[in-house]
Amino acid sequence: MLGLLHSLEIAVGATILGLLIGTWGAYSKLYGGPVVRDLFAVYTTVVRAVPELVLILLLYYAGTDLINQVLAAMGYQRVDISGLVAGIAVLGFVQGAYSTEVIRGAILAIPQGQIEAARAFGMSPGLLLRRITLPAMLPFAIPGLANLWLIATKDTALLAVVGFFELTLATRQAAGVTKAYLVFFLAAGVLYLCVTLISNFLLGRAEKWARRGMPSIKEAR
């Protein structure tokens, strides 16, 4: 049960971090200068082409090592980075690449006139982002982001490989102690499934809410 809690904590943290990176990345990719645009293109391509497991190993070891070296160079003591923070950071970094693409597509799907109208009103870019772009892109982005959230919950299982105590690793240890492998793995599967089904339901509600006032897809066809 503690494992499930840890899994959920990481998934939530990683999704939020991923969303922040994603919004920033999408904005940079759409409106940024040529260098920033290319850098983000490299980031999304590389992260999406390399297996999550390899990335997690690479970032988990490299990231903690790098931070410790920087701290040592600046004269601080080495810190022990908790698995939770490292896990969130690593998965958030991976999620950021995927959500960049989702959000970029969603922003492109907003009718151009809406953004132009807001500009014509003299809105500052921050206000424009908060009042127009984010709410208007939400209905287009939610299906993709919902997928990402489900992937995030399942990617937390990969952190078991680097020895972080979450649901899958907890299951394996419990199963190893009691020798009842099948029972424990099935139970963990049911737990994951419950998380998925519940979030499916909630995300469906959220999408309906974000789409309020828009013509339904069925009628448009």
Partner: protein, 269 residues
């Protein structure tokens, strides 16, 4: 004339690629690669490259087998959901939901540790011809990856089957084709064309889940890099090379699929 246009076209494309800031970025990237090659330790490469090639081959082999088998399962699963009666559609739906709702790592461990620990309890399994296979790790890896691919792809195929215009099927029926012939000549090809772009993505995803089999002691390229890391106490070099290898495979896959996609007539339906 056409030749000239082609030359201009490639020249324009080249100049698009070689804008000043891009040249600088490319130079920086080359510098990074060169410094990595120079400052990091690569002396373990001659000792391990043969093993690495075997590992790459095994990963590709697993990818090919699981994708083919998974697609073969996905077609009936998708068809059952798109057109079957509720008695067929409901189990297919449940199958897809379960596969897509649980992590692949968990499925893999469930099959390997769970089922794998059940089998030895029954003597008749130990005596049967399957035992030499069931004792190894790779059948479980292949089975888990196949089922996972079938689950994800089944959902895609459901959408693809449902997306084929009704008129096409009605026209085929009006020609007096048998049901099997309609399926083989009209329904499946059109659904396949529709699913192809998604299929590319799914195959790349499948490639990225092959390293998971290393956790149940199948020696693929990922396991080779872990072994190098254990033997030489190097952290980054094997992982970086591994990431590069996967990127290369992904690039080749995407390129191959885009060639296949280009051969298919765009206007369908």
């Amino acid at each position: 004339m056409a030749n000239e246009a082609a030359i201009i076209n490639t020249a324009a494309r080249a100049s698009l690629w070689l804008q000043p800031h891009r040249i600088v970025l490319i130079l920086i990237a080359f510098g990074l690669v060169a410094s990595a090659a120079y400052f990091m330790r690569w002396d373990w490469l001659p000792q391990y490259w043969k093993m690495g090639l075997v590992g790459i081959w095994r990963a590709l082999w697993i990818l090919a087998v699981t994708c083919t088998l998974g697609f073969m399962i996905a077609v009936p699963v998708g068809l059952a959901q798109a057109a079957g009666s509720i008695w067929v559609a409901a189990p297919a739906k449940v199958f897809c939901t379960i596969i897509r709702g649980t992590p692949l790592l968990l499925q893999l461990w469930l099959l390997y540790y769970g089922l794998g620990s059940l089998f030895p309890q029954y003597p008749w399994i130990r005596e049967s011809w399957m035992w030499p296979y069931l004792r190894q790790a790779w059948p479980y890896g292949v089975l888990a990856l196949t089922l996972s691919f079938a689950g994800y792809e089944g959902e895609v195929m459901r959408g693809a089957f449902a997306g084929v215009p009704k008129g096409q099927l009605e026209a085929a029926r009006a020609f007096g084709m048998s049901r099997w012939k309609i399926f083989r000549r009209i329904w499946l090809p059109q659904a396949f064309y529709r699913a192809l772009p998604t299929l590319t993505g799914e195959t790349v995803l499948q490639l990225k889940s092959t390293p998971l089999v290393a956790t149940i002691s199948v020696i693929d390229i990922f396991a080779v890099s872990s072994k190098v890391r254990q033997d030489t106490y190097l952290t980054y070099e094997p992982l970086l090379l591994l990431a590069l290898i996967y990127m290369a495979i992904t690039g080749i896959l995407v390129f191959a699929f885009s060639r296949i996609e280009a051969r298919i007539p765009v206007k369908i339906g």
